[in-house]
């Protein structure tokens, strides 16, 4: 993917640049808000990663200017302004995701991956009613799950969890992403909410069939691969 990073701190910028490049992305790293606005308007990126407190023009203004100019590229805020108010402000201005500093690189990687996928599939907005991975089928209308032709009885949150994992299509979903998506929780619970539900889901979708569908990526999250 082609990414743009707006980050004025050299050390953090270098880390993000190196990490994303290592993942195989093409990264433009800019340190000034005005340059980022110019680059964002001219070049077509898959995802923009914006800091909020940057010289020249702050990240929020960059986003507003881009959205005003009808640039619909997904935007991820990566900022020390991690307050709930700041977060809401960023998302209301047209941001697609918000990650507060300090952050784990695995979290950034997973969120950039999820946004990039959204931009490449944005054109085909077909309303799917069935999701398939391996021999698992999710009927989104009837909220029913079958594996190898057998009904699997899932409760609402287990279904939502499985749906989120299947929809991410081979990309890692972090704990925090799942908490936001499935439980609408923007804080980090000290207890193992995600782990517990993954374990229950596994008890229904894996245990009776004797194999592994949901892979745990240590220190990162969970993924279902085809």
């Amino acid at each position: 993917m082609r990414l743009m990073v707006l980050e004025d701190d050299p050390e953090i910028g270098q880390w993000v640049y190196d990490g994303l490049t290592r993942e195989g992305h093409v990264v433009d790293w800019l340190k000034d808000g005005r340059e980022a606005l110019a680059a964002g308007s001219i070049n077509s990126y898959d995802v923009l990663i914006l800091d909020r407190m940057t010289p020249g023009l702050d990240g929020l203004s960059v986003l507003k200017a881009l959205r005003a100019a009808k640039v619909a590229t997904p935007v991820l805020f990566l900022t020390a302004m991690g307050d709930v108010d700041d977060r809401v402000e960023g998302l209301e201005a047209g941001g697609d995701d918000y990650l507060a500093k300090p952050f784990a690189f695995s979290e950034l990687k997973a969120r950039v991956g999820a946004l990039g996928r959204r931009s490449s599939f944005a054109s085909e907005q077909t309303e799917t009613t069935k999701l398939n991975v391996k021999d698992i089928e999710l009927d989104l209308l009837r909220r029913k799950c079958t594996r190898a032709g057998q009904d699997v009885d899932l409760n609402g949150k287990e279904f939502a969890l499985l749906e989120a994992l299947i929809r991410s299509n081979g990309r890692i979903q972090t704990r925090n992403m799942l908490l936001e998506k499935v439980w609408n929780m923007n804080f980090d619970p000290t207890t193992s909410v995600v782990e517990t539900h993954i374990s229950r889901l596994r008890g229904k979708i894996e245990k009776p069939f004797g194999d592994t569908v949901i892979r745990t990526v240590r220190g990162a999250g969970y993924v279902i691969e085809d």
Binding site: A80, M81, V84, V88, F103, G156, W183, M185, D188, T190
Partner: protein
């Protein structure tokens, strides 16, 4: 403001109360003054009449003596009747006199008791034979020209004058009272208007809107002085609060950038030494750092809420629905940790004005506290009433004397509730409650054996 509350407010107005008190005082003063005036006036009138009587008596005595001179002692004295006057002949007569000769004969109008004794007296007399009307007369009887002379003056006229006085006082009192109370209502109304403005602004400030100002209140008096003092205080508060907010944002930024760099370096170290001991150490350091960051965020969040965070994200939140969402997230966790989970709701829905994200986080904190401090095997219950949401555990509970203390940041009790935790969980709940003007109530789950802790967020109805 409805008319009713306005009237209610008016009666609580100090101006009106003052004028009512003054009216009562004024009426009392008037009563005393009227009584005294009445007494003094009646004394003065009596003295004046008595003086008149004495003068008349002496004048008449001289006349009678002159008339009697040169006449034989035994002869019946002859006087012109006009000398004495007769009230029976003329209604408007206010004086008459009567003379009793040495031999006992009387001249002039002389009903019975007229000569019973000497000196001043006030007696009722029937002056008109045909009617029962009796009039009061002031009389003086004394020796004159060898006989006894009585002069009388009508007392009723003085009485009429005295009767005017209470009427005058009552009328003056009534008019003054009405005027004072009307003025009181008027002043009270104006003062209430101005006080109302001050109260509304103070309410707004309490809500967190520090840009509210009372402004000019018209006349320059104590109320407008008070208003300008309030405005000056609010100015100062606003500056302080803005400084505090800027400070916390600056702290957040200035600390978060180096913390981010630290995390980046540790993560890089862990990545470069994935299999070695250094990598393992870096992983541990990362885990520690993340714990520090969680505490750091909680402190910032509490500071922000205590500094009067905005309420723009407030909306109608159904506590039952919120509890359901929390049950979805936590029931499995609670059960897998060896507790029973129960959800009780006494109402189908309970709507409060709240910030849903903060409220959810607060209740999640309570559930996690219950999980941390309870003994496995017991029940953890989530309870919703019409205006409250509670988490009840069956752990060791908190002694009554410590219940208030645990709501403060960084307070942890040494005994049963000491393992793990950062001492901020309940403080955050308390800050969320204050933002919602709700109360945090700590109680024993079971009153009899004092088992467990029930923590409730109680909203104002």
């Amino acid at each position: 403001m409805s008319l009713r509350t306005e009237i209610k407010g008016l009666f609580r107005s100090s101006a009106l109360r003052l004028s009512l008190a003054l009216s009562v005082l004024f009426v009392l003063i008037l009563l005393v003054a009227g009584g005294v005036a009445q007494y003094l006036l009646s004394e003065a009138l009596e003295d004046q009449i008595d003086d008149d009587l004495k003068v008349r008596f002496e004048a008449l005595a001289v006349q009678i003596t002159q008339s009697l001179d040169g006449e034989d002692d035994d002869d019946e004295p002859e006087f012109e009747i006009d000398l004495f006057g007769d009230p029976r002949r003329s209604d408007d007569l206010i004086f008459f006199a009567s003379f009793q000769t040495r031999s006992g004969a009387t001249l002039g109008f002389s009903p019975r008791r007229l000569f019973s004794k000497n000196g001043y007296r006030t007696i009722p007399l029937k002056v008109e034979a045909s009617e029962d009307e009796v009039s009061l007369w002031r009389i003086y009887t004394g020796p004159a020209a060898g006989g006894r002379l009585t002069v009388a003056q009508r007392w009723d006229t003085a009485e009429d004058l005295l009767e005017l006085l209470p009427g005058a006082f009552i009328a003056a009192g009534a008019i003054a009272t009405v005027l004072t109370i009307s003025a009181g209502i008027g002043f009270g109304y104006v003062a209430q208007r101005r006080l109302g403005k001050i109260t509304r602004v103070l309410d707004e400030i309490a809500e967190g809107n520090l840009s509210a100002r009372v402004g000019a209140l018209g006349r320059r008096d104590d109320l407008s002085d008070l208003a300008s003092h309030i405005d000056a205080t609010t100015d100062r508060l606003e500056v302080l609060l803005r400084q505090t907010r800027e400070l916390s944002v600056n702290i957040a930024h200035d600390l978060k950038t180096p913390l981010t760099r630290l995390r980046v370096r540790l993560e890089a170290l862990a990545l470069e030494n994935e299999e070695g001991r250094a990598g393992e150490t870096a992983e541990h350091a990362l885990a520690e750092l993340d714990r520090i960051l969680i505490t750091f965020d909680a402190i910032l969040q509490i500071a922000c809420m205590d500094a009067g965070a905005s309420k723009k994200r407030f909306e109608d939140v159904d506590l039952v629905q919120l509890a359901n969402e929390l049950s979805d997230a936590y029931s499995a966790v609670i059960e897998d940790n060896g507790f029973r989970f129960e959800f009780e709701s006494t109402v189908p829905a309970a709507t409060v004005r709240a910030d849903p994200a903060l409220l959810k986080q607060a209740i999640a904190n309570l559930i996690e506290n219950a999980l941390r401090y309870s003994v496995p095997g017991g029940a953890i219950r989530l309870i919703v009433n019409s205006n409250s949401i509670s988490v009840a555990d069956e752990g060791p509970g908190i002694p009554d004397e410590h219940k208030l203390r645990v709501l403060k940041p960084f307070i942890r009790l040494d005994d049963a509730r000491s393992n793990g935790g950062f001492g901020l969980g309940l403080a955050l709940v308390q800050s969320v409650a204050q933002l919602h003007k709700a109360d945090v109530v700590l109680a024993d789950t079971k009153k009899v054996a004092s088992v467990g802790l029930t923590t409730s967020l109680v909203f104002k109805a």
